[in-house]
């Protein structure tokens, strides 16, 4: 049982590429749910089209990576419009079901034999982000005591956290503006906003598109960081991760998604690393817990996290305690 290992793994998780990418996606989701009240349960769909925008452009069409990024963003916009047009006029729970269904439909199509010439089907695509890694300014790996990051990961983290900061700054500016005031009003009561002459549908659509683009960029970053895309990596569980992150940090706060993602990945990798370490060293008998079970337990933890947070601390860690007294709807 090596606790230094477990802890350093957990810290790596808190700052690593996943934490940055999920934080970025959660910033988009927070714009949807935290500030506009949109129940988007298909956020992974935006990530999927963003990732494949890059992968298909480079691998299949032979375009530049940067053009691919633009294609990914364009795809997110189109997806937001397709999802939003039918559902944004409806009650919120319909949007929830339509978005999760939409994301699943996308995944089915991207992995189907039909799309295989374009997307590589169930095998996905690989090795399309060399342009990104060619720009890597880090020549050597970084070791801070027990903490260790490869030069490759450092570059992904730099880009990832920079994007997180940029996106958060943009959301901050937007939310503090009259535009943000309208969004928050819609979150509270969209009929009231309509009665005051606000075109609620247009505002929701703007929010869906903008948050979707942020999600799409996060997806593109996943594709770039791992140099591979596979449709089954974009399953509904990713969306639930994002919800747990957002609610953990505090929905409708600017820093919530960032803090949430760091804490979430710290805990998730801690749990993972701890259990693996414990089974490997025999502290937990291997009969009781095998490798795949450890992965599953992480989701059990995410589920429990969502459940308990929503019951006991719906405003999250950064949430305004004053808001707790008001009914979250």
């Amino acid at each position: 049982m090596n606790f230094t290992d477990v802890l350093s793994n957990a810290f790596r998780g808190a700052f690593g590429p996943e934490a940055a990418i999920y934080a970025l996606a959660a910033v988009g989701l927070n714009l949807h749910f935290g500030f506009t009240g949109l129940l988007n349960f298909g956020h992974v769909g935006f990530m999927l089209v963003g990732a494949y925008g890059v992968a298909v452009s480079v691998s299949t069409w032979g375009l530049s990576l940067w053009v691919g990024l633009l294609v990914g963003i364009a795809c997110s916009i189109v997806l937001a419009l397709i999802l939003g047009i039918p559902t944004l006029r409806l009650r919120g729970d319909y949007l929830a079901i339509a978005t999760i269904a939409g994301a699943e439909v996308l995944r089915y199509f991207y992995r189907s034999d039909w799309a295989a010439p374009l997307t590589g089907g169930v095998y996905g695509l690989r090795q399309f982000a060399n342009e990104f890694f060619a720009l890597n300014p880090y020549s050597s790996d970084l070791a801070l005591g027990p903490l260790y990051f490869s030069a490759r990961n450092l570059w992904v983290m730099t880009a990832g956290w920079a994007l997180v900061i940029l996106a958060s700054l943009l959301v901050y500016l937007l939310i503090r503006s009259p535009w943000g005031r309208v969004l928050r009003a819609i979150r509270e009561d969209e009929l009231a906003a309509r009665s005051l002459g606000k075109n609620v549908y247009a505002y929701k659509m703007q929010s869906l598109v903008l948050g979707g683009v942020i999600g799409g960029i996060a997806g593109a970053l996943i594709a770039i960081a791992t140099q591979s895309v596979n449709p089954d990596n974009f399953n509904p569980a990713v969306t639930f991760y994002l919800w747990a992150i957002m609610i953990l940090g505090g929905a409708s706060t600017i820093l919530g998604p960032i803090i949430g993602s760091m804490i979430f990945w710290f805990l998730a990798t801690f749990l993972d690393s701890f259990l693996r370490n414990a089974t490997a060293s025999g502290v937990i008998p291997p009969d009781l817990l095998s490798g795949p079970d450890v992965g599953a337990l992480r989701f059990v933890f995410v589920g429990l996290c969502l459940l308990l947070l929503m019951i006991y601390r719906p405003a999250g860690i950064l949430g305004d305690p004053k808001e707790l007294r008001l009914d979250v709807r």
């Binding site: 129940l39 039918p86 339509a98 199509f109 009969d287 079970d293 989701f299 995410v302 969502l306």
Partner: protein
């Protein structure tokens, strides 16, 4: 804080009662849960191996398999308790595999005549080649042969996932009338199962406005409980397993309502908050099932292999026919309950207008509790049916079904029990009939696309009512 915590603990405890109890029984009961017993470690670089299962899907132990090259035996193996065998081979090349018929249990024989010998099995360097001996019960051989072209006896089949869902198992392409008819039957079968599970979902929404995201997990738990009860060591009849599943589903539904949702409503928790809680619950339960049940796809050992009956142009196994008829019987029963009994009328009244129902002396909490119990029981039963007809029980089957359930419920109109029934059958038909033109891997996608189109055209669904603003 106390009562809320109690609520969670109660829900968890209930889950443990229904799930973990059975799980530990299963874990203790089966001798080895590890996939590869130590006996089977390969000596050389290449080998021939396989798993022998009887017609009921149960592993066959003590069966001898011999490998020969140019007429001389190069090795043999006897299957273990899991039915697994492996013959290490000295070198790559062409082998003949022989199954010793005398070691087969009574009543079991190769599906094809001469199927105990597999000739010309080519093994490449460092390949651990999996080989299948298709086995049937003695009485079955005749029927099988009458119905189908004899399979090639020479080439061994590569082991793969044999659990083809019934619907996609149809060979033939194109839109011949027979195929259309067959797919309609498959669609109705699937739709009826979705309907059973979706009725509860819709009624729960109708009475409490909660979209219960964890409904799919009740489906899985039903299927899994029935599996545990009906396989070793108990090996009880699957009917008993189904009953156990119904009881477990009902208890789980009632437990969740009493332990979690009712206290949440008392605190006047917002609907969105409850919706997210149900998502957390769904995730929690689903992966807990994964830990306890493992990621394997299992089969009910009973009613697993049945010859299809031919009713005119349609072929259907007796099992599927009974499941479909039972599903419809249950749907009719639910309709009668809603229409005729006091509780049913009260349930519709609560769904229609909760405050009015409460004011007119209906015990709303009791009505909601019974809806949860019935909805949970129906979902669990639907899980057993789904597992039976699809030939597989696995940890996220309920979640896969959940999206189809949503499609059915929204198509029919959220909150309406009859709408859920009609909508679900349409969803079943759409997903199966799509096979006429599109690859089967996309059949769920079409059903979900229908959902999105319905939202566009008639968001309140077929039987739903438009909501009033203001």
């Amino acid at each position: 804080m106390r009562p809320r915590l109690m609520a969670i603990v109660a829900a968890f405890f209930l889950l443990c009662l229904t799930g973990v109890g059975a799980a530990s029984a299963a874990l203790v009961g089966t001798p080895t849960t590890a996939n590869r017993p130590a006996v089977l470690t390969a000596e050389g670089d290449q080998s021939l191996k396989g798993t022998l299962r009887g017609p009921d899907g149960k592993p066959l132990s003590g069966v001898t398999v011999t490998a020969e090259q140019n007429g001389t035996s190069v090795g043999s193996a006897t299957s273990n308790a899991e039915g697994q065998w492996e013959v290490p081979l000295p070198s790559p090349g062409e082998y003949t595999l022989k199954l010793d018929l005398s070691t087969l249990p009574d009543g079991v024989q190769p599906r094809d005549k001469g199927g105990e010998v597999l000739e010309a099995v080519v093994v490449r360097p460092q390949q651990q080649r999996t080989v299948i001996f298709p086995l049937v019960s003695t009485s079955q051989q005749q029927q099988e042969k009458a119905g189908s072209v004899p399979q090639s006896t020479s080439g061994p089949t590569q082991a793969g996932d044999q659990n083809e869902p019934g619907a996609t198992g149809e060979s033939g392409e194109g839109t011949t009338p027979n195929r259309v008819l067959q797919l309609v039957v498959e669609g109705i079968k699937l739709g009826a199962i979705i309907a059973i599970t979706a009725v509860g979902l819709s009624l729960i929404f109708g009475t409490t406005r909660l979209i219960n995201f964890a409904h799919g997990e009740i489906v899985t738990i039903g299927a899994v409980v029935a599996f545990w009860v009906s396989t070793s060591p108990g090996s009880l009849p699957l009917v008993i397993g189904g009953l156990a599943a119904v009881v477990a589903g009902g208890l789980l539904g009632g437990g969740l309502e009493g332990g979690l949702w009712r206290p949440m409503r008392r605190r006047s928790t917002g609907l969105i908050q409850m919706f997210i809680i149900s998502i957390g619950l769904s995730l929690f339960l689903r992966y807990l099932i994964l830990v306890l049940f493992s990621g394997r796809r299992e089969k009910y050992s009973q009613y697993a292999l049945q010859p299809a009956m031919h009713l005119g142009p349609i072929s259907i196994t007796p099992r599927d026919l009974i499941v479909t008829l039972a599903s419809f019987a249950i749907l009719i029963l639910v309709a009668v309950l809603l229409q005729r009994t006091r509780m049913g009328k009260a349930a519709r009244a609560v769904a229609d207008n909760k405050d009015l129902a409460e004011a007119s002396g209906i015990d709303v909490d009791r009505v909601i509790l019974s809806i949860w119990v019935i909805g949970g029981a129906l979902a669990a039963l639907g899980g057993v049916f789904y597992g039976l007809t699809q030939g597989a029980v696995y940890w996220d089957m309920g979640f896969n079904l959940l999206l189809l359930m949503f499609a059915g419920v929204i198509l029919g109109g959220l909150g309406s029990a009859y709408g859920a029934m009609i909508g679900s059958i349409i969803v079943g038909l759409v997903s199966q009939l799509s096979n006429l033109w599109f690859p089967p891997s996309l059949q769920n996608a079409w059903a979900l696309l229908v959902l999105i189109i319905v939202l566009l055209v008639r968001p309140q669904g077929i039987l739903g009512r438009a909501e009033r603003a203001g």
